[in-house]
Symmetry: C2
Subunit: 358 residues, 2 copies
């Protein structure tokens, strides 16, 4: 079965007699097995998953294990985005990218992921199939195997269609140590591309906003970009993907953890005009808006221009820009020089402006 | 902070100004940080979690890595049990035990877990605190550290109080290979104690059934029992924890994967009288009812009695019993000789009798 299916462009599913999820699909009995065998296994075809044990037993490749150091990166994320399908992606794509990106920005080589589905009774099987197909493609793009999973079903009205929690593991090459606590005065802050695209794409759909251009989520795997960056510049202090809470959230965490100031320059922020317009319309600060395919890097000043050039060669980094510097004071604060020359504090998001963005 | 708190019997939480979960607790901004710093960090105090990176970087101990083999067990489970609190446990305890048990029955030494919370707006913070405290204790009992997590909040009516997805990793000692595909004719099937306790405890609460004795969930860590069993008997073919789908589900999977028959003897099944009575009342087969602190072992016949004696010495295995044998035919079927001497097929659960049991 896996041979024929793994290479095909879409995911043909043997006859599956349900059109909607029923409670029995979460029973652990026959219907759960049907769902696994007819929907999940064909999509994620790999020998580990097919063993159908309660746990995946895997080997991590790479320097970490070979050198006996054995450092492993481990992460988890729950995805509750609404709507499930949006311009540029869907919850499945997001769930794979979110987890592999969290591994990659830790300097790890993502290798295996798990997926736990919480399904609402009545979910269209076709929607689940589309989501699983997106996950299959996202796994392939990211170079990871989905090796273990779980499915639960709750009664109608007790969840919202589907929630997905992905976890991931990867090996960390010896000597690699990226951390939000590593930033030092003088370092430069680089962002890998335009900010706010994901959050605004979701909000536009929800609010029914229309623009001349379709606003698309930037959901993407950062695995390859990170690999290229670390190959080019071993001195990178820190990488982070500014998802929920946006660039402002990431930089505030960094300022606090490194006990430094972050000073941004508004004119250098890469923002699509349509995203800027939507933010003004919705009263949002683009620095607070979620990104799902961007990263923030902090690098020593002498490496910044060279790294930037390398990033701009990569499809995921074409619009990379240096957006600020690390300074000594005012400690633990992020500030921004505005385009008219004033300076303001960029606080962490308070309250919630964009619920269920990821 | 962690020093003082880690050793204390309960989990004192600094002033936390909310009594209920609000959407902002899932924003990735200030409120999310409050929740993490005041509720999650004090409970799970460990250096990896406190780094607050997007991923945990850990080292696995043990033979696996030392010998350069580097086999890792990886598992995930979503928990949606209703009600959240039940006799013998709660969703937090269940979420930790479920994941460490899945690692343990794979022959792994569980070491690290993650937790992703999906919270419904309006959840009482006190309920969340109780759940987290249970998880803290369960982690300690199981010898694992919770090193990474995620929190999402959805609007009122879009989830049911709290769902928790835990994932876990552990190292697999060299040479260890347990699998449901390993059973051979002649092997004995052992269960570690009374069956059906968890499912019936949950159903009794939901249905308002009253018995002379309180029916308690058996939710427990199997980590130490498994360690003792594998130390005593390296020839164990397979271990499984018969959760959703019950012992019948586990044995049907085993019969299919090993291409053998499983023949049970009804008179040997350890079942509490109250559980038996409740099953009759509710029209349930105890073999289909979920267990959360029991395991099924398949062992070569010459080791069965010795292993049984070892198990009975252990607090988690005092009521262990040999409940059946592996035979050649009828392949892929589980049958049971009833107490009156007849023989019936024990099928996998069809449909769903016990929704949201875990």
């Amino acid at each position: 079965m896996p041979e024929a299916i793994a290479g095909s462009p879409t995911c043909p599913v043997p006859q599956f007699s349900y059109e909607q999820v029923v409670l029995g699909h979460g029973s652990g009995g026959r219907l759960t097995h049907n769902l696994i065998e007819r929907l999940f296994l064909p999509a994620f075809a790999n020998a580990t998953l097919e063993r159908l044990e309660d746990q995946a037993i895997v080997r991590l490749d790479g320097h970490a294990i070979d050198s006996g150091v054995g450092r492993i990166a481990f992460t988890t994320d729950a995805f509750v985005v609404r709507p499930l399908f949006f311009p540029g992606g869907d919850i499945g794509r997001l769930a794979v990218h979110g987890t592999v990106n969290d591994l990659a920005v830790g300097g790890a080589i993502p290798q295996f992921i798990s997926a736990a589905f919480i399904l609402e009774e009545g979910l269209a099987i076709d929607d689940l199939r589309r989501i699983v197909e997106s996950m299959r493609i996202a796994c392939r793009e990211s170079g990871v195997q989905l090796v273990t999973g779980d499915t639960k079903v709750v009664e109608r009205g007790k969840a919202d269609q589907v929630f997905i929690t992905t976890s991931g593991i990867g090996s960390v090459p010896a000597g690699r140590s990226l951390s939000i606590a590593n930033a030092r005065p003088g370092d430069r802050v680089i962002v890998s591309g335009t900010i706010g695209d994901h959050g605004i794409a979701i909000m536009s759909v929800r609010e029914g906003l229309e623009f001349d251009t379709v606003l698309e989520s930037d959901t993407a795997s950062l695995v390859d970009l990170v690999r290229v960056m670390l190959d080019a510049c071993a001195a990178i202090r820190c990488l982070r993907d500014p998802t929920r809470g946006g660039v402002a959230g990431t930089l505030n965490e960094l300022a606090a953890a490194s006990d430094v100031a972050v000073r941004l320059d508004e004119t250098s922020l890469p923002i699509r005009p349509a995203v800027k317009a939507a933010c003004e319309l919705l009263g949002l600060d683009p620095l607070h808006v979620a990104n799902e395919g961007k990263l923030v890097a902090v690098v020593p000043p002498e490496d910044a221009q060279r790294l930037l050039a390398v990033m701009r060669q990569h499809p995921q980094g074409r619009e990379a820009a240096i957006i600020g510097t690390i300074e000594r004071e005012p400690r633990k604060l992020v500030t921004m020089k505005s385009w008219i020359g004033g300076e303001r504090v960029v606080a962490m998001l308070s309250g919630e402006m964009l619920p269920r963005i990821c």
